[in-house]
């Protein structure tokens, strides 16, 4: 029982990292109506930025994380302006999807050139005193607690931002109906840029947490978590923030439990299998809206 609960906590912690990534995916999808395949690679860039600042330059940890967030934020805005904006009215959503793939190749190979392809060992941002904690009978890693708390705080902030502030309301309006929003005087361009900025900043935080959780850092670090978080976003109903949160957590738990109890090798297959079953039962995900098609 103790091992089961410990596994559950580990799953929750990886799941909350997936959740943070998935929220970025879902926000961009909800507003820009595109799958940002480069999102996973922004995580990687964020991790490298934090690694260079904290381990190489010796910047204090909070400043290092802040720096990584700012770098990713700017990167997100730049990518949106240069690569995605020219294709916003391209006629097929596939065009911008392929461009996102190009951006993903670009970031991965750029990182390969700058940092080399060998694995860097990321030093955890968690202070050594709380690397492992004893909570009752359970031994828990500090990073697990930190990532669960971080994701809860981030979701709280984001929900308040979207629900209570004007830019947040503008985001909501754009996701509902872009044309109507622009008629109401909302700057759609600025809102989309803001969304990319927030999503990328969250990716940076996710990157730091992820590399503190498992320290191997390579130019392709972000790819698989990115795809899994994308899965989590779909799982929860793409476009829905609570959905992405729940989807991420569920995915993390399933992955951890199947790794521990069934097989390390086929855990990915199990995760994707559960996704398929959920989608077959609920074709728009757990929290997705069913849009009635009009003739």
């Amino acid at each position: 029982m103790v091992t089961f609960i410990e596994n559950l906590i580990n799953g929750l912690s990886m799941g909350s990292i997936y959740a943070i990534i998935a929220i970025g995916y879902t926000m961009v999808y909800g507003i820009a109506k595109m799958l940002n395949f480069a999102h996973g690679d922004i995580i990687m860039v964020g991790s490298y930025a934090a690694f260079i600042m904290i381990s190489t330059l010796g910047v204090p940890v909070p400043l290092g994380i802040l720096g990584s967030v700012i770098i990713c934020l700017c990167l997100g805005i730049m990518i949106e302006k240069i690569a995605y904006k020219p294709l916003r009215n391209a006629g097929s959503p596939l065009a911008v999807l392929i461009t996102a793939i190009g951006v993903s190749y670009f970031l991965q190979n750029g990182a390969m050139l700058v940092f080399g392809s060998n694995t860097k060992s990321f030093t955890s941002v968690i202070p050594a005193s709380i690397q492992t904690m004893q909570i009752g009978p359970f031994q828990v890693r500090g990073i697990a607690v930190v990532s669960i708390l971080t994701s809860l705080i981030l979701v709280g902030i984001l929900q308040t931002f979207i629900g209570k502030t004007r830019p947040g309301q503008a985001m909501l309006a754009c996701s509902q109906d872009r044309a109507a929003a622009s008629l109401m005087g909302i700057s759609v361009n600025n809102t989309i840029t803001l969304t990319f900025a927030i999503g990328s900043a969250m990716a940076a935080i996710a990157g730091v947490l992820m590399c503190s959780y498992s320290p191997a850092l390579t130019p392709t670090t972000g790819a698989m978590p990115g795809i899994k978080a994308f899965t989590a976003a779909v799982f929860g109903g793409i476009g829905s923030i609570p959905g992405a949160m729940v989807g991420g957590l569920v995915l993390g738990i399933i992955e951890q439990l199947s790794k521990y109890y069934i097989s390390q090798q086929v855990s990915d297959a199990i995760v994707f299998g559960v996704l398929i079953i959920i989608l077959l039962v609920k074709p728009t995900g757990l929290f997705g809206k069913v849009i009635q098609e009009k003739v």
């Binding site: 006629g91 065009a95 951006v103 670009f106 190979n109 795809i227 090798q265 086929v266 994707f272 077959l280």
Partner: protein, 361 residues
Amino acid sequence: MKERAALIDRTSRNDFVTYGMVIAAFVIVQILSSMGVLTNQLQGLLVPLCVYAIMAVSLNLVVGILGELSIGHAGFMCVGAFVSALFSNQVGGGMPSLLRFIIAILLGGIFAGIFGFLIGVPVLRLNGDYLAIVTLAFGEIIKNIINAVYIGIDGRGLHASLTSANKLVDAETGVILINGPQGITGTPRDSSFLIGILLLLVSLVIALNLTHSRDGRAIMSIRDNHIAAESVGINITKYKLTAFTLSAVIAGFAGALYAHNLATLTATSARFGYNMSIMFLVFVVLGGIGNFRGGIIAAVLLTLIPELLRFLSNYRMLIYAIILIVMMIISWNPASRAFMEKHRLGGHLFKKKNTAGKEGE
């Protein structure tokens, strides 16, 4: 009547250009090869080029003609590759190599088609991005399981395990067929450029004839407006499944061709992961969605560019990414498209047959 004849004439002329292009490419490569101009690297690329071109045809059926997004086509290719390699390995010298290879290709196609059908039945009722993510998930599952499974055969029958090949089969009579992550070794290298080109032509015949047939028009009507299609009595499930299964069969052919070009067949991410599925999608979109000829050209160009950029050494994949982004923006940006149409630039590669994809966008 006259107009109709003219229309048929135009489509068939268009098709002949496509076939002719493939045959001309073959002839040119043969001439270059006999002159000794082709480097070893390029020679080694010829079969993969055919594989990718066939995959572009296969995915174009789903994305361009059916109008659904699939990012799991590498999974069907993987099935075709492993089934055909298993067959060829088991038969070994018991059959003339050409006959063995033809049967292997057919088996690869049939099994990939079965998978396509089985996956298609539940998932084709989803649409848009949900369908995309489910196909991605299936592709990953197929790859993941083949990578983890050990299969052996001996006097007592087939054995499978998820942990290791040790003690799986009888030590004397047993043979390990799939050795987990080590995959299948010793597949006869039957693939050649000629067979690749022939297979590409066969795939094109299947795809183009389907497109021009009554069934093809039904499939395209579903793509353009599925509610209207349904209201005139078109059986949506049947036609969606037809297109999806045929596409999987063609992907299986490509897999068989691919497997017989490798000494060791492994189900690594680099070969059959979602990255590959996405690459096929890039071919289709860059070549013009629904345009088979464009897809083949894009497949060839995008495979050759990294080779031609070899002199840039470490920078080549970076430049490749930039080229991809720039090509996409040039060929899809509304302003640059208007500019190209005005000045008649770009020709067929960038010509859009229609705006396929999702409705309502």
